[in-house]
Amino acid sequence: MNASVRISVSSLRAHKRRFAGTFLAVLLGVAFLAGTLVMGDTLRASFDTMFGDATSGTDAVVRSADTITTPGESQGVRQPVGTDLVAAVEKTPGVAAAAPDIQGAGQLVGANGEPVGGQGPPTLAGNWIDDPELNAYRLAEGRAPARSGEVVVNRGAAEKGDLHVGDTTTLRTPDPVEVTIVGLATFGGEDGMAQVTFTGMTRPDAEKYLTAKPGQAASILVRAGPGVGQRELVDALTPELPAGVEAITGQEVAAENTEMISGQFLTLFTTFLLVFSGVALLVATFSIHNTFAIVVAQRTRENALLRALGASRRQVTASTLVEASAVAVVASTAGLAGGIGIAAGLQALFPAIGFPFPEGDLVISALSMVLPLAVGVVVCLGSALLPAVRAGRTAPLAALRETSVDRSGASRTRAVVGTGVAALAVAVTLTGVVVSPSLWLAGGGAVLALAAFVVLGPVAATTAVRVLGAPLDRLRGVTGALAARNALRSPRRTAATASALMIGVAVVSLFTVFGASLKETMDRTVSRSFAGDVVVSTPSFGAGGSGLSPALAGAIGERAEVDTAVGLGRGVAEVDGKGRALTVTDPVALERTFDLGGIRGSTRDLGANGIAITQQEADKQDLSAGDTTRLTFTDGATRTFTVRAVYGRSELAGEYVITREAWAPHRTQDSDTVVAVSFKDGVTASEGKAAVERVAKAYGNPEVQTRDEYARSSAGAIDMMLTLVYALLALAVLIAVLGIANTLTLAVHERTRELGLLRAVGQTRSQLRAMVRWESVLVAAFGTAGGLALGGFLGWVLVRASDGASNSAFAFAVPPVQFAVIAGVGLVAGAFAGLRPARRAARLDVLHAIASE
């Protein structure tokens, strides 16, 4: 034990530089992980506090008990409660005050005419509750709205829109309403509820613009009298409420709100980051394993000597593991500190870039301390385990042999196993993609494919480096030839080094392919399904914004240039017991601007009790034209609808279509999400667009896009996501590059005598540097090529699997330009990785190198 420790300590001290790469790889991976965890916890706690503060005065909430949740949305739509209940609630013993809470969507237009917010977080409007205890917002400036047209807005929204007390602007509800700002408000001590914008109106205004009919509210907020607890209050309220209406405590509501933000946004956010720290750590594993493998190989003689002198296998293995633990613990601890630093930095950075995350102290939970440390140590020790065991197996006689020749990685067993895994991967993937579409099978196949690539790496390395090195050989003469031969020296080492980069590049290419395929899909969808000329739409990314005024489509339709203008609204209902999104529109006009595919039946006479559905949904529910189905709306009403038409293509039109007439009795706030417009013959695109824009101006100036612009703006969100993904993956690539640099440094050290010989017989320093650099580039080229192939394949799997799992057709696209860029970046990264080792090699003293034993 002590002997092993002593040996490892002295060896660590002697070879500090060798472990620099390992150290950095562990540090970066752990820092990322710790930073993510700490930031997630901190944000969650901050939101918790904020909601707690904001709703602390609300002791109970009375609301409808049922929600309708459509697939893909975590938050259901709740039917409103009647405001007449307020009187009954106020009479209940223990109640000090009660107020209706009317909520709807309302988008402010800023001083510059552009809408405020709406790029994701909701834009809310509601009634300004006069009881300050019940109102989640506090007046920070000005006064409460007293007359029709007066509003209070949250301070964050006001700042963003450059609006001040006294300003007059437009609120899109979605019908444009002229409002005067009389006050600014804060939420839980912050300028707003994260990025959510809020406009508080008088109660009559709110009822007029935000609800389908007066006398409805989203819920009733209740404050308890002195000495009455929240539970008590709820117990007292419950018997007074009609069926279908419930009372819950204020704490429960706060928890629900927090859950809504943490559950949706934060969980997604942290999961996303955790996935990338996982990728970084996976890449780090390869780098670390490689370093230890090389160090052990270089130390063969030393270990053999130890064995010959009587050290047991266990002692030799232990000394390597102790070394790994030391590196792991120190690097992980440093990484943890770094991670906390990252979280603190981001916390400071977010507000600076206009992302007002709530402030608060960093929350460093036990988990976010222990987990990164544990992961760092496990990754490091796990990577060192095999090399350590190999060290223990060193034969005492190895000390007497000349330099140990690398047992080639291209063994038959490896080739056979690798090919087997590859075949299995392809079989599983194809089954999951083609035969019986299943994301799990496809995912399993993807993991197997990765494993096959890693196992086959050393087998492929020889051929790959030869092929990739061929042009080098020709262009760079003996320097290139030497570089290629050096890269070929130990196929296993080359493959392991390249694997790290391969994984990084593979993930990058996977996302690139997926992004390009999504864009292509979007493009094709628009060009296939949309038969009109321009589209008026709210931002396509996120659920924000208040939508478009239902009157807009009619107004545009009246223009001389316009043939048809059709607005598409969204509704929800339970169809056959399951929540579904409905498209609320004029089906006849819809058919003229969208290609619905083949239609059986007719969209002409849907009326108030007819519905059109896609072929796919019809098949699922065994419906055909003429059959009836039952729809339950959010107001609790259940109606029987007759299927009048079954259409083939759902892409833009949605899966269920009903008329405005059918939706009107059950609607909440009325809005359209898209207005599609087709021009009359002979109207040019620019004329038509200008005409539509003139109309739109009066409705809060929503964006008018041509078909191409519409498709492109849909793709814009994908580009944004890709940019973020690339930024996160840069870390993994950086770790991989560090790995290459480290391997090369070790190789240079190993080849000291050979380099000395080359220098003695006339290799110039620059030739030597070029040789090392080109070797680095070759290894990187191998990794990049493998990564592109693997990423392309995985991208194909993902796209095909998504295609199988979703209703709409997915296109597969490989973006050649992006792939060329990735390849270029890979090569440049390789050259970069080779810089330091090359410089070190060139600094070698010839005589010293020749003389060194």
Partner: protein, 301 residues
């Protein structure tokens, strides 16, 4: 082939390498060691000179400094008329590549290169001719000869220095060292003696002004050593080359035309037409004389 030395007067007048007033000090202050203590020695062209001396006498240091692998503390070193002290690292490297050949005691070959590639390495580094293409031809040539098809393919694209194409020269060299059937092997597949013969071929391949050999037989059994020494001797006598060899073995030194003796960093004697016995006698006498002096410094150089 123990051919008698046949130095001609004209040969002796040309100088291949020379050091004058050579001083090399390792370290500084109290621990400083004078490895070379003011040596003047000339290595005439077309001659086989051996440098002998007890360990620590400075013989390896002398060779390293004369060959541009190490720099003198003071004094001058010349290859032909070029003074080494005036050259920067790059020029020195080019000089070694173009005008000097090396045979070291061990680890003479680049393990990733074939025998043929090792032989032409200095020229390939110089980028003379289409080196890679030639390397391939050579490989192919070797293979085809092994296949018994013979191969009259002479490569004369290689523009060597001095008369005759360098392709022919290397071809002849390969035959002299007897490695025709090993040209496409890797060094690891050769015996120690074969590896040294490749090193000798490499050293002469570029027809350098001078070949420095540092204990070239130190790691070999006596038979392989004899082969290597014969090769060096033939290169000088039949091919008009110049060799400077550091050795501690009197039998090896006997292959030289002349032996220079070093002790304590000074040139102490020269011997023309040496034989093993005479060299041994000289060394013995010399050992007795210098015992007391060399003890202190023996361990350090």
């Amino acid at each position: 082939m123990n051919a008698p030395p046949a130095p001609t007067a004209t040969k002796g007048t040309r100088t291949a390498a020379r050091v004058a007033g050579a001083v090399k000090v390792y370290g500084a202050g109290g621990t400083a060691v004078r490895a070379l203590d003011g040596i003047d020695v000339t290595f005439p062209a077309g001659r086989f000179t051996a440098i002998m001396g007890p360990s620590g006498s400075g013989k390896s240091t002398l060779m390293h400094c004369a060959a541009g692998l190490d720099t003198l503390t003071s004094g001058t070193a010349f290859i032909g008329d070029t003074e080494l002290g005036t050259l920067d690292d790059r020029r020195l490297t080019l000089l070694r590549r173009d005008r000097i050949g090396f045979v070291f005691q061990a680890f003479n070959l680049v393990p990733t290169l074939t025998v043929a590639e090792n032989i032409t390495l200095p020229m390939d580094l110089a980028g003379r001719g289409r080196e890679r293409g030639r390397g391939r031809d050579r490989d192919r040539e070797g293979r085809s000869r092994r296949d018994g098809r013979g191969g009259g393919r002479h490569d004369d694209r290689h523009d060597g220095r001095g008369g005759g194409s360098s392709g022919e020269w290397i071809d002849a060299l390969v035959d002299v060292v007897g490695l025709r059937d090993r040209l496409h092997h890797r060094p690891a597949e050769l015996s120690g003696g074969q590896q040294q013969r490749v090193a000798v071929a490499r050293a002469f391949a570029g027809r350098p002004d001078v070949v420095f050999a540092d204990e070239p037989t130190g790691n070999l059994d006596s038979r392989s050593g004899e082969e290597v020494l014969n090769l060096l001797g033939r290169a000088v006598r039949q091919m008009d080359r110049t060799v400077v060899m550091v050795t501690h073995d009197p039998v090896a030194a006997a292959h030289a035309d002349e032996v220079v003796f070093l002790a304590d960093g000074r040139l102490v004697d020269r011997m023309e037409s040496p034989t093993a016995d005479r060299v041994l006698d000289r060394l013995k006498a010399f050992d007795g004389k210098s015992d007391g002096k060399s003890d202190g410094k023996g361990a350090s150089a």
